[in-house]
């Protein structure tokens, strides 16, 4: 299975490192369960996953775009826009008087998710248009998207808007509280919203996609050496447009997770830098979906831990405790992952003739 998911030796190493990291976390969790009781451990794990989801989507978004040669620092803005649009569609469909069919949970939330994701995708295409067609510096184009999203969503923000509810868990825990370890495992594996499961599925799907399909081979070729791809008859720009759309959609999923699954409402600037953390995680994960997912999980874990620490009355200013996730992520990933090598042609526009 592992060999299906990975490509070259370097990629394989990333995947193995991710696996080892996961195993270590599990062992620690098991030991901790003995010390502080399973309830807290399960709570921390669930919080880790919850924090991980938007970061992982953001990192996937970055991978799609950078693997095809375009730097995307607009992930933050794409997430925010998607979070807003998804939420507003939910709000609009929730007002009394809308046809009851549209208000049923699957339709209402399905349309909200779709709308939010499309909003992200459109911003992705906009980024592609600016950086390919108009050759705007890709960093600047990404910044434009971030500011645009922040400004627009801030301006049109409706305080106090309410909805008929957010995404419910897909399945309930089938085990009863007295079935021991099975119950706790169930608490982790079930009781999650659809977007969380989708995230895990997409991490695996994009790994297979990148390293095992024609699309993936071409994408990587374009990110490494667009001219070579061009001489072999690959339409470089079309591929970049398409991948940037996917990239925006992935960031969009991260955004709608916040407003439709995790929180349920929208706040100004609610992505709060997750798009940038996602970029860091993508780099530490060496532009590999599995590496990025592992990095996102680590960050989520550190954030959850920090949340728990705030409950204990330790005599440290909370600002320092708040730094913990960032510090831990940087130290662990920088210390253990080693030097990463970005796609060779990322950030430079490819001009034909």
């Amino acid at each position: 299975m592992l060999s299906i998911l990975t490509g070259t030796a370097a990629n394989r190493r990333t995947a193995i490192a991710s696996g080892v990291g996961l195993a270590v976390i599990l062992v620690v969790a098991f030991l901790a369960a003995g010390a502080v009781g399973p309830a807290i451990v399960v709570a921390v794990i669930n919080a880790s996953i919850r924090n991980m989801v938007p970061i992982a989507f953001g990192a996937l978004s970055g991978i799609f775009s950078e693997r095809s040669g375009i730097v995307n620092i607009g992930i933050e803005g794409m997430m925010l826009m998607a979070a807003y649009v998804g939420f507003m569609i939910n709000v609009a469909l929730s007002v009394p008087g809308v046809s009851p069919i549209l208000q049923t949970e699957p339709v209402r939330l399905g349309l909200s998710i779709l709308g939010g994701v499309l909003a992200g995708g459109i911003l992705g295409l906009f980024h592609a248009l600016l950086s390919i067609r108009y050759r705007v510096d890709q960093i600047i184009s990404g910044t434009v998207i971030n500011m645009l999203a922040l400004g627009l969503t801030g301006y049109f923000y409706l305080p106090g808007a309410t909805t008929l509810g957010r995404l419910p868990p897909v399945v309930v825990n089938p085990f009863s509280a007295d079935s021991g370890i099975l119950f706790w495992l169930g608490e982790i594996l079930f009781k999650k919203g659809i977007i969380t499961y989708l995230m895990f599925a997409l991490v695996i799907a994009s790994t297979i996609g990148l390293f095992r399909t024609v699309w993936g081979l071409r994408t990587r070729a374009v990110g490494e050496h667009p001219r070579a791809a061009d001489t072999l008859g690959i339409n470089v720009h079309r591929l970049q447009y398409r991948n940037l759309f996917f990239s925006g959609c992935l960031a969009g999923l991260g955004g709608v997770f916040l407003t439709l699954e995790a929180v349920g409402t929208f706040e100004r600037g609610m992505t709060n830098g997750r798009g940038f953390i996602a970029l860091a995680v993508m780099i530490f994960g060496k532009w590999h979906p599995l590496g990025a997912a592992a990095g996102a999980l680590l960050f989520g874990f550190a954030t959850a831990l920090q949340g728990q620490l705030q409950f204990f009355n330790i005599n440290v200013p909370h600002q320092f405790v708040g730094m913990l996730p960032y510090l831990l992520t940087v130290i662990v990933l920088a210390g253990f992952v080693g030097r990463a090598r970005p796609p060779a042609h990322v950030g430079k526009p490819y001009e034909i003739e």
């Binding site: 070259t8 297979i208 095992r212 399909t213 024609v214 993936g216 081979l217 071409r218 990587r220 070729a221 490494e224 050496h225 001219r227 070579a228 791809a229 061009d230 001489t231 072999l232 008859g233 690959i234 339409n235 090598r341 060779a344 003739e353």
Partner: protein
């Protein structure tokens, strides 16, 4: 495929009246050309004659301004390489188009992938490559990663790429420039084999001997036009050279005896590792004196590359010392080697010799931009003084303007001005100013600051230049105190001079270096390194990819540098070049120097044996006996 019913000798490709302009250059000027089935057609021409451009048009990468391409008697319009590939055209580019981090098989199938369902079929791809490699005797491991392969093998991958796409017309743009003689022989065997199977080949090269060996027919281009056609039987290297350049070319270097003086470069017990951490240079010692050319002969890949990199500060030495002009420069920086008066023509010009996105003028000062006359005062250490001067002048200007302003304040003119901007009276204007920034005032202020600032700058520079003239020397404190401002006029003048002197074919000096033809890029690097009158010249493959006329010129320049007192270390894979230019020759084999000989006391055959690893006693002893 459409061409299968054609027989050897039928015309498969016809180029009619192709014309192509680039900004400032007419790269192809009404070019006509035919190619027959199973034919090997050599395309010759000076650097910048338009050979690569013409081939890129045929391949669909560039679009011609006018003219037609006829493929098997049918007009073909290729909007992209994809269409050319589908019509059976394959091209191996002058600069390889391979993705370094991917495997051979991946590179080969890219764009025409074998799939099973939605997935890549790796096994099938590998099998395909292996099959092709056996069928055409192109040895290569399908699973190897491109960046770990020697250039000769990368070349084979490029050919396999074309064959995989069933190319019936194969364009090879300077395929032999980076190959060793053995690899060239192998390539020729492959080419003959392909031609026998009905593949038509267009072969671009600058090496006239190769043309005479392999071609069936020869077409010569100059300045974008086809100027002649010949067959190998009726041609000699001299006649081809004359046709290319338009005048007689001396294919032999004229040089007098050397007059070596003091030792300039002393290399003592030097060792170094290559990129894969193998021992590439082992305990090498030699010295080069001013006024002599020391040639380093050897089959490529025997440590010459690494040796040059260590000498020029690009690679770490694991043992030994490099002494230039009595100064120990082992493991210092390339900059300190350069400042010691060393010129370096690197083997890989695109990686170490030039910056694609810089202009020709900028590329021509890469080794000296930080020095006079290109960097001008203020210098790092005079900067505080200059800044103080700026501020002083600025304040003075401002004081003058402020007093004029003050005078205006009460004058009729002032209220008139205010009226123009629609402001009623002085009091309301100042009230507005108190309430917040007034756009009009802000803009006026900004413009004033800019104008005064510019005047202050001009004035300061004028004073500095005056002072410098009066002092009769640059205003700087010590050797390391360098100018902070680039003088673009000087840089451009310098470039214009070198472009003229070294005959670099470029529309102007502001053209991006990346758009020059391959040979002209090389000439640009040579011009920069030779133009500075170096005391030590390290030249690695200085004539790679260069036409015969320019080779003649560069060879003359090398001898001229020698006669002007430079010490020259010449590394070349061309035995001809080594023999023609060197006063003394060292032979490298497996990272060691296996022999040091005087150039006039050794034959080419002996050198060949030494390069192949025969022991010095055997080879040179036989001669003595």
């Amino acid at each position: 495929m459409a061409g299968n019913n054609m027989r050897n000798g039928d015309v498969v490709l016809e180029i009619r009246g192709i014309t192509k302009h680039f900004p400032g250059v007419l790269a192809n000027d009404n070019v006509n050309l035919t190619l027959k089935k199973g034919e090997i057609l050599a395309l010759l021409g000076e650097n910048g004659a338009g050979k690569s451009t013409l081939m890129n048009i045929v391949y669909g990468l560039y679009r011609a301004d006018s003219g037609q391409v006829l493929l098997r008697n049918q007009e073909a319009h290729f909007a992209s390489p994809r269409e050319a590939i589908h019509s059976g055209i394959g091209m191996v580019h002058q600069h390889f188009q391979l993705i370094p981090v991917m495997s051979v098989a991946e590179n080969v199938v890219l764009g025409e992938e074998v799939t099973s369902g939605a997935f890549l079929d790796r096994k099938e791809a590998v099998r395909h490559v292996r099959e092709l490699s056996e069928q055409y005797k192109l040895r290569v491991d399908p699973d190897a990663i491109i960046e770990e392969l020697p250039v000769g093998t990368q070349q084979r991958v490029e050919i396999i790429k074309a064959l995989y796409r069933h190319a019936e017309i194969l364009i090879l743009d300077e395929p032999t420039a980076v190959l060793t003689p053995q690899e060239v022989d192998e390539l020729f065997k492959i080419m003959r084999d392909l031609a026998d199977r009905g593949v038509s080949i267009i072969f671009i090269t600058h090496k006239l001997k190769e043309v005479l060996t392999i071609a069936h027919r020869i077409v010569v281009m100059r300045d974008g036009q086809v100027v002649g056609e010949a067959t190998p039987a009726e041609s000699t290297p001299e006649s081809l050279a004359a046709m290319m350049v338009g005048r007689e070319v001396l294919l032999r270097v004229q040089r007098g005896p050397a007059h070596p003086q003091d030792t300039v470069l002393d290399v003592i017990g030097l060792s170094a590792l290559d990129d894969r951490h193998h021992h590439a240079v082992r305990d090498v010692s030699f010295s080069v004196r001013s006024g002599e050319v020391l040639g380093v002969a050897g089959v490529q890949g025997n440590g010459q590359t690494e040796l040059v990199e260590v000498l020029t500060g690009l690679r770490h030495a694991t043992a030994g010392r490099v002494i230039i002009h009595g100064e120990d420069l082992t493991n210092t920086s390339p900059r300190s080697v350069t400042s010691s008066g060393t010129g370096h023509v690197p083997e890989d010009r695109r990686r170490f010799g030039m910056v694609d996105n810089y202009t020709v003028a900028e590329n021509l000062v890469l080794n000296s931009y930080y020095d006079l006359p290109f960097s001008v005062p203020p210098t790092a250490r005079t900067l505080p003084v200059v800044m103080a001067g700026y501020i002083g002048i600025f304040l003075a200007f401002f004081a003058v303007l402020a007093s004029i302003w003050g005078a205006l304040w009460s004058s009729a003119l002032w209220s008139l001005t205010l009226g123009l901007f629609g402001i009623q009276d002085v009091e309301s204007a100042s009230r507005e100013a108190m309430n917040g920034p007034n756009m009009v005032e802000l803009i006026v202020m900004l413009v004033m600051v800019l104008v005064i600032g510019y005047l202050a700058h001009r004035f300061t520079m004028w004073v500095l230049r005056r002072l410098q003239k009066a002092a009769g020397k640059p205003l700087r404190f010590g050797k390391k105190d360098r100018g902070l401002v680039l003088d673009h006029r000087q840089i451009d003048q310098h470039a214009v001079g070198l472009v003229e002197q070294f005959d670099i074919r470029t529309p102007d000096v502001d053209t991006h270096a990346g758009s020059l033809s391959g040979g002209n890029q090389q000439k640009m690097v040579v011009a920069r390194e030779f133009g500075r009158k170096p005391r030590l010249l390290v030249a690695a493959q200085p004539t790679r990819g260069i036409d015969v006329g320019s080779i003649e010129f560069i060879h003359q320049q090398i001898i001229a540098q020698r006669d002007a007192g430079a010490a020259v270390l010449l590394v070349s894979a061309e035995l001809d070049e080594i023999v023609a230019l060197s006063d003394r020759i060292v032979v490298m084999y497996k990272g060691e120097i296996v022999a040091t000989v005087d150039a006039d006391k050794v034959t080419r055959e002996q050198l060949g044996l030494l390069m192949a690893g025969a022991s010095a006693e055997d080879v040179l002893g036989v001669r003595a006996a």
